[in-house]
C-alpha cells in the first residue's frame, strides 16, 4: 500500500521501459482481448520530468501518463460490502476527469475499485469481465468473488513489470456472503474485512485502524467509508471531486454519489 513511494525511485528502469512502450488505443476506446499486450505505463509525480522535453508550445500534461491518483476503500458488513472511491483522474497536474467512476462492475454482484494507471486498470478490468462472464456461463451459476479476485491477481502478477495497478475486488456471492479482496501493485491477493488503496490511502490508515469495528451495520459502513474518503481527499492532491459509494448485497447493487458540498465536515478541515 505504500508501493508508490518505492516506484518513484526506479527512474532508470522506467526510462528504458518507457522507450519500449507500445502505443495502445487512446484511453476510452479499447477492445476485449484475451491475450493482452500491455503498454508500459508508469506514473511519476509531476515534478519529475527527466524524460519529458520541456516545450513551451505543449503543456506538461499532454506528455504525462493518465493516472487515477485516488483514494479507494471497501468494507465488509453482515450481508454484503460497501465500496467507495473519489472521482479524480489526473495527467500530471491537470485533472483530466473530475467525475470519474472508479467503481467498475465485473459481474452482477462483483465490483472492483481501480487505482494506479487509468489505462492499465481499465484494460485489466475489461479482460477480467470477459473471462468471468465466460466462466459463469460455463458454470451456469453466479461466480464467486474469490474467483474474480484470483483472475485479477493472475493478470496483475504475470504482467507485474509492465503494469501499475492497485485493485480492490469486492462483492457478494451466495456461498460466502460479502467479501473484500485486495490486489495491490505487485500482484499479491489477500482477503481483508476492510481495505483501503490508492495514493490517498496512506493518510487514512490511522483513521481506519482506530474507527473500524467488526459487525457494523450497512449505514455505519456507509458513514465510515464516506468519512474516511473525505479525509483522504482533503489531504491527497491526487484525490478529490465527489465520493461515489455502492452497496452490494443479495438484493443487488445500490449506488450513490455524495457531492462536494455534501461531504462530512471535520473541525480542522
Amino acid at each position: 500500500m505504500h508501493f508508490t513511494v518505492v516506484f518513484s525511485g526506479l527512474s532508470g528502469v522506467c526510462d528504458r521501459l518507457r522507450q519500449a512502450r507500445v502505443r495502445t488505443p487512446a484511453a476510452g476506446s479499447f477492445s476485449n482481448v484475451v491475450k493482452l499486450k500491455m503498454a508500459a505505463v508508469l506514473q511519476f509525480p509531476a515534478s519529475v520530468s527527466t524524460f519529458n522535453n520541456y516545450n513551451d508550445l505543449y503543456p506538461d500534461w499532454t506528455q504525462t501518463e493518465v493516472s487515477t491518483g485516488t483514494s479507494i476503500m471497501a468494507v465488509e458488513f453482515e450481508g454484503g460490502v460497501v465500496i467507495g472511491a473519489d472521482s479524480r483522474t489526473t495527467t500530471g497536474a491537470y485533472i483530466a476527469n473530475r467525475v470519474t467512476d472508479k467503481l467498475t462492475p465485473i459481474h452482477e454482484r462483483i465490483f472492483c475499485c481501480r487505482s494506479g494507471s487509468a489505462a492499465d486498470t481499465q484494460a485489466i478490468a475489461d479482460a477480467v469481465t470477459y473471462q468471468l462472464g465466460f466462466h459463469s456461463i460455463e458454470l451456469d451459476e453466479a461466480p464467486l468473488v474469490q474467483t474474480a479476485a484470483s483472475l485479477f491477481r493472475d493478470m496483475c502478477y504475470r504482467y507485474r513489470e509492465e503494469l501499475m495497478a492497485g485493485i480492490i475486488v469486492a462483492g457478494w456471492d451466495p456461498r460466502r456472503g460479502g467479501q473484500v479482496y485486495t490486489v495491490p501493485v505487485g500482484g499479491m491477493m489477500t482477503r481483508q474485512p476492510v481495505s483501503v488503496g490508492g495514493s490517498g490511502s496512506s493518510y487514512i490508515y490511522g483513521y481506519v485502524d482506530s474507527n473500524y469495528r467488526a459487525g457494523m451495520s450497512k449505514e455505519e459502513c456507509l458513514k465510515f467509508t464516506a468519512e474516511a474518503l473525505t479525509l483522504a481527499m482533503e489531504r491527497d492532491g491526487s484525490s478529490g471531486g465527489v465520493v461515489r459509494l455502492a452497496v452490494i448485497s443479495e438484493q443487488g447493487v445500490e449506488r450513490q454519489v455524495i457531492l462536494g458540498n455534501q461531504l462530512p465536515k471535520f473541525s480542522t478541515v
Partner: protein, 218 residues
C-alpha cells in the same frame, strides 16, 4: 574492488535518521508533545529508546525528526541561544522566540540540513502554542504532526482533533495518534514519550510498548 569475505554491514555507512512520528497538540492551558523512540540507520534500529522531545527551556520543548545529527544540533544551538536571550530580557522566553530561532537556522542552512523540528511550549503572553518549522517556514497551528509516520495519521488527527480539549483528553489523543502511526510505519516504534507543558512546568512521561492502547484492524 577487492572481494571481502565479510562485507561491511550497510548500516555502518548509512546516515542515521530518526524515522519517526512526532506530534504536538494545544489544549486549554498548555501543550502536549509526543514522539516514538526509534532511530534507524538504513534497515537497522540503532537506538530503540531515544527521547526525541528535547528541552529548549523550562517550558519550551521541541520534537526532533529527520536526520538525527542535524536535529540534535539545531536543538542544542537554540537551547544556548535561548538561554542567552532569556538572560538579556530577564524573563522567560516566548515560545514564538524559540520557534523563530529554530526557523532561522533551518532556513539559513536549508540546503545542508534535513531536519524538521516542531516547537511547542507555554508562555504567559499567549498560553500554549505549537509552531511547525518545516524546511524553514514558521507557522503557528493548533496541532502539528511530523516525521515519516505522520502520513498515516493525517486522516485520524483531522477527524479527531477538537479545540479546547482537557489535559487528559489531549494526552489520550497524542498517545492514540502515536500508537496508530507506530503500527503502520516501519521507521517508528518502541516506546512513546509524552511531555505535558502548562503554567506549572513540564511533566515527562514514558509509556512502554505493552501499555500502549490496542487497535484491532481485523
Amino acid at each position: 574492488m577487492s572481494e571481502e569475505l565479510f562485507p561491511e554491514p550497510e548500516w555502518l555507512s548509512e546516515e542515521v535518521k530518526t524515522g519517526t512520528t512526532i506530534i504536538a497538540v494545544t489544549f486549554d492551558g498548555g501543550v502536549v508533545l509526543g514522539s516514538d523512540s526509534r532511530v534507524s540507520a538504513g534497515e537497522s534500529v540503532v537506538n530503540r529508546v531515544m527521547n526525541k522531545l528535547s528541552p529548549l527551556h523550562d517550558k519550551i520543548y521541541c520534537a526532533l525528526s529527520g536526520s538525527a545529527a542535524d536535529a540534535q544540533t539545531i536543538a542544542e544551538m537554540v537551547n544556548y541561544q535561548l538561554d542567552v536571550h532569556s538572560i538579556e530580557v530577564e524573563a522567560d522566553p516566548l515560545v514564538c522566540s524559540a520557534a523563530t530561532l529554530v526557523k532561522n537556522i533551518s532556513y539559513k542552512y536549508k540546503e545542508e540540513l534535513s531536519a524538521h523540528l516542531i516547537v511547542a511550549g507555554w508562555d504567559k503572553k499567549k498560553g500554549g502554542q505549537v509552531y511547525a518549522t518545516l524546511s524553514g517556514l514558521l507557522t503557528r497551528q493548533p496541532f502539528a504532526i511530523g516525521g515519516s509516520g505522520s502520513f498515516y495519521i493525517n486522516g485520524f488527527v483531522d477527524a479527531e482533533f477538537r479545540k479546547n480539549m482537557t489535559k487528559r483528553e489531549c494526552q489520550e489523543f497524542v498517545v492514540n495518534a502515536l500508537t496508530l502511526a507506530m503500527g503502520r510505519d516501519g521507521s517508528s516504534g518502541g516506546v512513546a514519550y509524552v511531555v505535558t507543558i502548562d503554567k506549572d512546568g513540564a511533566e515527562e512521561k514514558c509509556i512502554l510498548g505493552n501499555e500502549l492502547p490496542k487497535f484491532f484492524d481485523e
